[in-house]
């Protein structure tokens, strides 16, 4: 019976079906299953299966993202139960992510946020047009390991540098890793602003975050 529900949980993630994933999460709470087990033996198995299929070239980005969304929905459903039991899901690290001030381009940033969350990071997404002080404030509040900033325009990309300068000024730069992204971001830019890394796509962003935190 429990083996069956774990399999169904994994399958709901593989299918990218948030509704089924949420229903199964509720079912597991009702049957008094340990939510940590539901995550690790059920839902995470699905995420891993999709990830492996993607790596082989058998699955594609939409499947990966839908799996991520289903995972997020399942975990959110289990969250109150986790809190009630005083248990905590193990995370790979905390990430504060946003598109920088003056820039409203959201999708790349959101894709990275989803993939990070699906991979086991705790992600705080501040949306778009996020001022530097808001980003830094949130990073301090949640004790973030990584600050991730996106920009689509060369004129807003400079905000990435300003935030790093601000972190340095406040003596906070060593407390976290800073990663950047967006179409105009190049290796030269990353070096010149002293960021810890960048990626050209969401998959690479997850690999980068894992590498920076030595999380595997």
């Amino acid at each position: 019976m429990t083996v069956d529900i774990f399999q169904r949980m994994a399958q709901s993630i593989v299918d990218g079906d948030s509704d089924v994933a949420v229903a199964l999460a509720k079912e597991s709470i009702a049957s008094n299953l340990d939510p940590l087990e539901a995550i690790s033996r059920g839902f995470v198995a699905g995420v891993n299966a999709v990830g492996e299929a993607f790596g082989r070239g058998d699955a594609f980005l939409p499947e990966l993202v839908m799996a991520g969304e289903a995972m997020k929905a399942a975990v959110a459903t289990l969250d109150p139960e986790l809190k009630k039991r005083g248990s905590q899901r193990q995370i790979l690290g905390r990430v504060v992510i946003a598109t920088v001030e003056g820039d409203i381009h959201e999708i790349g940033k959101s894709l990275v946020a989803t993939m990070l969350a699906a991979s086991g990071f705790e992600v705080h997404d501040l949306g778009v047009d996020a001022p530097g002080d808001k980003l830094i404030g949130k990073a301090l509040e949640v004790n973030a390991d990584i600050l991730a900033m996106s920009a689509l325009l060369t004129t807003t990309m400079v905000k990435q540098r300003e935030v790093i300068e601000e972190l340095e000024k406040e003596g906070l730069r060593q407390r976290l890793k800073v990663i950047v992204g967006g179409a105009p971001v190049t290796r030269d830019w990353v070096t010149s602003i002293g960021a810890d890394g960048y990626s050209e796509d969401a998959i690479g962003a997850v690999a980068l975050a894992r590498k920076l935190l030595n999380a595997h």
Binding site: G57, F60, L61, P62, I104, H105, I107, G108, L111, L153, T154, T155, V158, A183, P184, T186, D188, W189, E200, D201, A202, I203
Partner: protein
């Protein structure tokens, strides 16, 4: 150097990707989207205009929903034809539906250095150099800001860029890199100085403005405010959708066209509500995101179909189209670049898109290559030739020459051949040499194209901009920098 501009006109080839019934369905879907889903306009000014016009405006979410009749009646004011003026009137570009003009692409962030061939960050001098080469070649009719002048201040960068182009070329400038009202005001002032006052600018717009929408179904506030200022000044203004299947648009091509169309049409209607009769154009560079990475692809069959389809939409609304073609995703000028840029340009040209964007980029409009720029011009020249089709008449059937040559004769000595030999296309960059000659040199199109770019840079002196104007531009830009 010749002042002539090579444009496609009076085409013999025709391409119909969408029939009238299909265009009507996309139009109806578009109106449904605008009325029921809405389009985001994060601009207080735009929202007020929509409210005054009777649209349903959610001020908190900045989303506008408008009835079909409101959109359709606003669009009726779009002028169907007008002219993009050049500093040199000989190079004016009538947008009359019977011309396809080629421009440079924009706005990249890196350049393969013309001398060292190394990849580096783009700067103002690149804008000048590219504009000067574009001034010299007849395939290029107008400029976009090709790369970002990243060595200039952010707040005035767009102004440094257009000043540099005007100082390097007499051809029309369409900027895609001015998207704030303060820069738009200054750019309009600069264009007015060239035209000789604001009334003259209305008659001879030497500048046009292109604003990207924020797909899906959104606009950038600064862009919208800049567009409104341009429309007020009579400067041709267009909204470009870059909706991408899978990410910022539906996976299906028709759905993606409808989403992008809703962005462009809502933006265009806004300009007509504010300034009825303002010259506007449709701009588009839809694509399909890469299925594995979600990345911008800059090519592939979906891109090519969008290139062929979009002019049917622009024609339906009776406005000119500025269409993204070229822009290969290839990392160097290679097989992929050849396929991407040839097919996208052929499709967009065969549909008679009024303006094509544009030459010069690798890696999906991010890396400028001078060699690619020259080779893209040749792609356009080939398409230009093809668009003329095959003339069939007594002279071209050549019966006299056939009779004179007779069986086993040859045509090289015929007078008819002398008359028509120059009808045959002569490529600059295609390798038709004997194998042994290639073997001894192992060079190819990329080397010859780069050599041509270097030669043009060394030799071509554009007609200079009046020094007093340059001074004025400098003063204006500096005054904004000290503020």
């Amino acid at each position: 150097m010749s002042k002539s501009i090579k444009s496609i006109t009076n085409p013999k080839l025709k391409l119909q990707v969408l029939n009238q019934e299909e265009v009507r369905k996309i139009h109806e879907a578009t109106l449904w989207i605008i009325e029921n889903v809405g389009v985001k306009f994060p601009s207080a000014r735009a929202l007020a205009i929509w409210q005054d016009a009777g649209a349903e405006v959610d001020l908190d979410r900045m989303i506008v929903k408008a009835r079909p009749a409101l959109i359709e009646s606003a669009l009726e004011h779009c002028p169907p034809a007008y002219t993009l003026a050049a500093r040199d009137p000989v190079q004016d570009l009538p947008l009359d539906g019977n011309h396809v003009y080629l421009g440079t692409d924009g706005c990249g962030v890196e350049v393969i250095d013309v001398e060292t061939r190394e990849l580096r960050t783009s700067r103002l001098q690149d804008v000048r150099d590219i504009a000067r080469i574009a001034d010299a070649v007849e395939e290029i009719a107008f400029h976009w800001v090709p790369v970002s002048a990243q060595d200039t201040p952010v707040a005035t960068r767009g102004l440094h860029e257009i000043a540099a182009i005007w100082e390097s070329s007499t051809k029309h400038v369409q900027t895609e890199s001015i998207y704030s009202p303060h820069e738009a005001r200054a750019a309009i002032a600069m264009a007015g100085m060239i035209a000789g006052g604001s009334d003259q600018l209305r008659k001879r717009p030497v500048l046009s403005l292109m604003q990207c929408s924020a797909s899906p179904l959104g606009h950038d506030g600064g862009s919208v405010d800049a567009a409104l200022l341009a429309a007020e000044a009579g400067i041709p203004t267009g909204f470009m959708t870059m909706a991408a299947c899978l990410t910022t648009g539906p996976a299906t091509l028709a759905g993606n066209l409808a989403v992008g169309n809703a962005e462009v049409i809502a933006g265009t209607a806004l300009l007509q509500l504010a300034y009825p009769g303002a010259p506007v154009f449709y701009a588009a560079a839809q694509t399909a995101s890469d299925l594995r990475t979600g990345a911008y692809t800059g090519g592939g069959p979906e891109d090519f179909l969008f290139g062929g389809a979009t002019n049917a939409l622009a024609d339906f609304y009776g406005i000119p189209l500025s269409m993204g073609s070229f822009a290969t995703g290839a990392k160097e000028p290679n097989w992929q670049a050849g396929i991407d840029n040839s097919l996208s340009t052929f499709m967009a040209s065969a549909a008679m898109s009024d303006m094509l964007l544009g030459v010069g980029f690798l890696h999906g409009s991010r890396v400028w290559s001078f060699a690619e720029m020259m080779m893209d011009c040749e792609i356009f020249a080939i398409v230009h030739k093809m668009m003329q089709g095959i003339a069939v008449d007594a002279e071209t059937l050549a019966l006299e020459a056939v009779a004179a040559a007779g069986p086993s004769g040859n045509f090289l000595t015929q007078k008819h051949t002398r008359r028509h030999m120059h009808d045959i296309f002569v490529p600059e960059f295609m390798d038709r040499r004997p194998y042994s000659e290639w073997e001894s040199k192992k060079d190819d199109a990329r080397d010859w194209a780069l050599a041509k770019a270097r030669k043009l840079l060394a030799e071509h002196q554009p007609e200079p901009l009046d020094d007093a104007l340059s001074q004025e531009f400098g003063k204006l830009i500096r005054s904004m920098e000290v503020q």
